[in-house]
Amino acid sequence: MNLLRAALVPILAVVLAIAVGAIIIEVSGLNAFEAYKALYDGALADRKGIGRTLEKATPLVMGGLAVAFAFKAGLFNIGGQGQLVIGALFAGAVGYGVTGLPWIIHMPLALLVGAIGGGLWGMLAGVLKATRGAHEVITTIMLNFVALNITDWLTSKVWREPGIIVRTPAIEPSAEIPRWSQLPTGFALAVAAAFACWYLLERTTFGFEIRSVGLNPEAARYAGISVSRIVILTMAISGMLAAFGGAIETQGVVGRYEPGFNAGLGFNGITIALLARTHPVGVIPAALLIGAMEAGSSMMQFKADVDPEITQIIEALMLLFVATPILVRWVLRRRETSDISVGAHWGDA
């Protein structure tokens, strides 16, 4: 009952967004039914499609988790993209640069280094917020641009594969995350991460402190919780989550780091986190949905001639419907406007 109630708004948002998407497709003179049918075929009809969906969904789970986790402390991490590319590049560097290790050590080591790299990157925004009062929305966006430049530079100057193409060398087999009959096992790692986040938030004192800071930072401070510490650690963990997604992508899908890696993920993370109503486990179905849309979009273009960018519009619509309280109020007939507030402490020193 509670689950249904919680899921009602996201489900309505998705249905509405798909309906409006259909109208846009029809208005452009194409067949919406055909388009959605092709989308389904490309994403879910066979094992290959499902594999593609899971593959796409993996970094989305992690990106959604990064946003949802930070939300719990009242922080809005828009820097998922920057944290992800740093994680992906570092994992790639360890993946090709370190040789002679057995798989059981090399694979997790590369994941770990990637996650720590992105964690430190996220932590930077946390430190700026905790010590200087710089709002994380601006700093994480700026850090995205900086991270893209830095990874570009590292890829083209330091860890470059000899040749014309700017990219890192392929990772060693001992760093690869294997597939299991066409299905990417990295997805299982992402699911495990989601449950770990849920456990951390709900069952540990650290998670309680994070939630307390998110709900009322002043009262948390009065209760003896160090808000600065929580802000810094939460941003670090959030960054690690996004970076972990990048590392899985490098080690399980791409096999190396290339510039332009997974562009646009950061914003999907927000949509997913809100569709999940910031619940870590809810992130999994939300990411699967978006992942399926991405996985099927090329089939949609091929069969129904619909530009794959339509998925971006549908995602923006989902975000709009799920983020605006009008739906919530209409469905739940409650006075409460929103369960998420990140704007209230803008500019606090």
């Binding site: 069952r203 540990t204 004192t205 650290f206 309680f208 939630r211 307390s212 709900l215 009322n216 002043e218 009262a219 948390a220 401070r221 009065y222 209760a223 003896g224 919780i225 160090s226 006075r335």
Partner: protein, 516 residues
């Protein structure tokens, strides 16, 4: 209810009239069939406990809330009150309990806001505004510098700005919501005089308060509210303090707290020459020293904004001090974190319970262990022990008579009094050495006030040192064993409770040691 006394002497229609007002917030009935009539030139006191519905009623009269049922009449004619704009058009002015002033703007800007003098085409004429404000102040005995920035003014001055703002709009009906809560007794006397002067010029005044003394001193008529309804209307001549109190609460009330002689022992808290700055980096606590002994209640009297908040924050580790030291049982706790200080046995009932005392969306259980969730038996190796938390919460809910359906309900769903009980239960149930209670009964109902007072005295009797900070002089006088008066960040007098009378404290609160 149409008794002849309600009519003003000249048989004019009443200046302001509320007829059958009903107002609900979700499930809470704030006003139920409320009737009120105020004649021209009358001072009409509206008396009631916190939560009795007074504020809701005046907010409806002023157009801030819309009534679900009933109507408002001005000079006998029904009027539509959809916004304060309508109220202002009908020459109704209001002085709010929480001042509705923009801190960064000047006095003149605040007063003219919304009705600005212009040089045509929307261009402000601030010089004219300043002149008009000065003249208005002189005429009514409410002088204030029109070019001063409001946030730099003391509260008494800010209140003048509020009153002037209403008069600038030519208000002939003036509503004042708890205007004396922030004033010293002397400032209160001056305010009451100003009000009498206004009434003599024909202004109808609605005066909201819960202080019986003021009602008897100034009101022509009194309407008492309880639980959202009007209990009755009377005049000061027909009643006395006890009678009004009984109408207000619905039972006879003991006006004094029962307590035995204090038996103080060794000093627990010692503060030496403490200096603390406020948010805006101005000196707030300025060389304050005091000692609080085990088994006594030390009350700090003073007008809000004289360094009380910064003192408490420095003592509890929430604010850095510039210099001086704070000793707890002889060891220096200056610069320790809030957590360390709390662990050393300092309990803290903060001034702002919604903002600082509770995490509203958390459950009552979580709020009851907010100062000890991190240690056994509530947590082991970083994992929360939910059974232990629930057991403790059940125990405290029973012991402290917290009225709730379940310990899993959110703290914000509780009433003000019950919220304060949650905080009190949490802070007093873990063996404190020192209790710092800041405005512990602000805005709660009489039953809860009695309960909180009993708890504070009970702590004293088991040997806890209590530092009580309150802007309510009555609370200080009835609870304290010793009293310090704070003025501009230092204690200008410290004496045994019996050695200071109300008037002396009032003078010290208003002007420091020079006055006494």
């Amino acid at each position: 209810m149409d008794d002849p006394i309600t009519q003003s002497p000249t048989n004019d229609p009443p200046a302001l009239e509320a007829v059958g007002i009903c107002k609900r917030f979700d499930t809470v009935v704030a006003n139920q069939d409320v009737n009120l009539r105020i004649g021209k030139g009358q001072i009409h006191a509206l008396l009631g406990e916190n939560g009795a519905g007074k504020s809701t009623l005046v907010n409806i009269l002023f157009g801030l809330y819309r009534a679900d049922e009933g109507e408002v009449r001005v000079n006998g004619r029904p009027v539509r009150m959809n916004s304060p704009h309508d109220a202002i058009d009908h020459h109704i002015g209001m002085v709010h309990q929480h001042f509705q002033l923009v801190p960064v703007l000047t006095v003149a800007e605040n007063i003219v806001l919304g009705h600005e003098p212009t040089r045509g085409r929307g261009l402000l004429d601030l010089d004219r505004a300043a002149t008009e404000v000065s003249e208005l102040g002189k005429r009514f005995g409410l002088e204030v510098d029109p070019r001063a920035t409001v946030e730099d003014l003391p509260v008494g001055m800010q209140q003048r700005v509020e009153i002037l703002r209403a008069l600038y709009r030519k208000a002939d009906i003036l509503i004042l919501d708890e205007p004396t809560a922030v004033l010293t007794p002397q400032e209160t006397d001056h305010l009451l005089e100003v009000l009498r002067g206004l009434a003599a010029e024909g202004v109808a005044i609605v005066f909201i308060t819960h202080k019986l003394r003021e009602v008897l001193a100034v009101a022509d008529r009194v309407t008492v509210m309880r639980g959202g309804r009007v209990v009755g209307t009377t005049t000061p001549a027909e009643t006395d303090q006890a009678g009004l109190a009984e109408m207000m609460v619905g039972r006879s009330v003991v006006l004094r707290v029962a307590k035995t002689e204090a038996r103080p022992e060794a000093g627990v808290l010692e503060i030496r020459d403490l200096h603390v700055r406020d948010v805006r980096d101005r000196p707030a606590v300025d060389g304050l020293s005091l000692v609080v002994r085990s088994g006594e209640i030390f009350g700090i009297a003073g007008v809000d904004g004289n360094g009380q908040r910064e003192l408490v924050e420095a003592m509890t580790g929430l604010r850095m001090s510039d210099s001086g030291s704070i000793l707890l049982d002889g060891s220096d706790i200056t610069g320790r974190t809030p957590r360390q200080i709390s662990q050393l046995g300092v309990a803290h009932i903060p001034e702002d319970r919604e903002k600082h005392g509770l995490i509203g969306p958390h459950s009552i259980a979580d709020n009851l262990v907010l100062n000890r969730y991190f240690r056994a038996p509530y947590a082991r190796r970083g994992l929360r022990q939910l059974d232990a938390i629930d057991n403790e919460a059940e125990r405290l809910v029973a012991d402290y008579d917290i009225r709730t359906e379940s310990i899993g309900a959110t703290a914000r769903s509780l009433s003000g009094g019950n919220k304060q009980k949650v905080i009190t239960a949490r802070e007093l149930s873990h063996g404190a050495r020192l209790l710092v209670a800041s405005q512990p009964t602000r805005g709660i109902d009489v039953g809860s006030i009695e309960f909180v007072h009993q708890q504070i005295v009970g702590q004293r009797d088991i040997g806890v040192a209590v530092l009580l900070i309150s802007a309510e002089l009555d609370e200080i006088l009835s609870l304290s064993d010793r009293i310090g008066v704070i003025f501009k960040g230092r204690l200008v007098a410290i004496a045994d409770a019996g050695d200071l009378d109300r008037a002396t404290i009032g003078r010290l609160m208003g002007a420091g040691a020079d006055a006494a």
